[in-house]
Symmetry: C2
Subunit: 303 residues, 2 copies
């Protein structure tokens, strides 16, 4: 058993994670969720006073919005589409027979018009775009959503369904770059207040296929993505728990969001991987929350 | 415009719900979520001291668990299966062509091994069953999950993805029936403390097809399901916001959960439809939380 398996095994043995029979899909106990609630509180506190508009979304989005986002071009391997049964009594009878005989029945399902959300901020852009030209000050959104990525893994930090909290800035290049600078500082203060070891490094998204390699290289060369990495899984590299992303005008062009000068809006976001942060805290401070450092408990408002 | 449409229109106009382009799929603003958080707090308070084990689950479950639950026999029309792209560069190229030409690409997706969760308690039974014979006192679980039901609707109370909180009792017939009795009282005290008008009535689940009619009649005749109904949508009947369900030994037999006497365990649950309760509160107390009755604000710990 390698050390990485060992952390997962301990999480399961202590009853913090409930395995479901699918890699990367876990239930969570009250201890895990208490830390999660504390993180939500702390992230709100670190963003306080910024006047962010709160948006919360369900775990899926409209197929049309998903298609327009361009996600299938860059990350088709992660997407999860939702399908349903639209048949009558006769079709249902056939379906039950397939299930009883252990045949494939899911392949007979028909596409519904929704797709699991790949990243929280994807739901934000069409809503902001629909409001018309941005104000001079641009816009700031505090968004959260369950997200799905089809990447079954034994690492507990790589869940297929996980919660992402983000602050999303929309505006001029100067506005969004200033936001990203500010949050790269604030994110490090956040990790420090949680007494977690970390490093910040340039990064790339896991673009698909041969063309994806070029996309990833270009993203790195332009310093579009940084990650705050925390060692969580023993015997593996550190885990990206926050990311600081500069999309340039990708979403502004896609959704026709405009700044008052008539240019396509630019966007940037800071994203918090909530389950990863909970696991990082459990890894570094132990499974007994009462024993955590007083400062960490205060940041998380643990009582 | 009928009155029912009007409530939805007001929710959207006031920015409480964000439409996504799909009926029954909404984003929510900070006001909605503040009420949601308050309800979570109140439900925890009403269940306090019962020693319930906390379990929280992601919005999907393992296909094998879903299949064994028997859901597709009774409610195939509501289920949402998750499908993914498993191809190479060449298949991706073909996929992009389909999307560009506006052809069906979702139909080419392949089944993943997960299914959207139809009800929060479905994830609980296999975990409890795996622990072996129940203790003499049986077991009590406090569970929550996003749930999916494929039933696009204009009623804001009928969302396709919504959050369900439940207390689930597992034990002898006497234990689970006493639990249901207790929660039918407690549920009414809960609604009273929220100053919501309600009635409690016998009900049935929306079983599929011709055979489903018999199932529904039988469920009613045996008083297996009660609902706490609150008027929310104008021009429509009241909305089930809580349900009190007695499953007899259905899940005990399915998952081979046993009480110490060797019999199949029985189960019952009280389920809270969280979005419906938020909407009921907004409907009856208005959109300005500061103006809500002091007692309601206290129950919800609104500050």
């Amino acid at each position: 058993m390698d050390m990485q398996t060992s952390f997962r095994t301990r999480l399961i043995a202590e009853g913090i994670l409930f395995p479901t029979g699918v890699d990367g899909l876990f239930g969570r106990n009250g201890t895990f969720e208490a830390v999660y609630d504390g993180l939500e509180h702390a992230i709100t506190n670190f963003g306080r006073g910024s006047g962010a508009e709160v948006m919360r979304f369900p775990p899926a989005m409209a197929q049309t919005t998903f298609e327009k986002s361009g996600y299938m071009k860059n990350f088709p391997h992660f997407a999860g589409t939702v399908h349903c049964f639209c048949g009558d009594d006769r079709a249902h009878h056939a379906l039950m027979g397939q299930m009883e005989r252990g045949e494939d029945w899911m392949g007979k399902q028909e596409p519904a018009d929704i797709v699991l959300t790949p990243a929280a901020c994807y739901a934000v852009y069409p809503i902001v775009a629909k409001r018309g030209v941005l104000a001079d000050a641009g816009h700031l959104v505090d968004v959260a959503s369950y997200c799905f990525r089809h990447e079954p893994s034994l690492e507990p930090t790589r869940m297929q369904l996980f919660r992402m909290r983000e602050y999303v800035r929309i505006g001029t290049p100067a506005q969004v770059l200033a936001f990203r600078e500010e949050w790269m500082e604030r994110g490090q203060a956040f990790a420090t207040s949680l007494e977690l070891p970390f490093e910040v490094d340039v990064a790339n998204d896991p673009f698909f296929g041969r063309a994806g390699k070029l996309m990833a290289d270009s993203q790195r060369m332009q310093n579009l993505k940084f990650e705050l990495l925390i060692p969580v899984n023993d015997g593996a590299g550190p885990t990206a728990c926050l990311s600081f992303n500069y999309h340039m005008s990708y979403f502004g062009d896609t959704w026709d969001m405009r700044t008052p000068d008539g240019n396509a809006a630019q966007t940037a976001c800071v994203a918090f991987g909530m389950e990863r942060l909970v696991l990082a805290l459990l890894r570094h401070h132990g499974f007994d929350l009462d024993q955590w450092p007083a400062g960490v408990r205060e940041t998380l408002a643990l009582r």
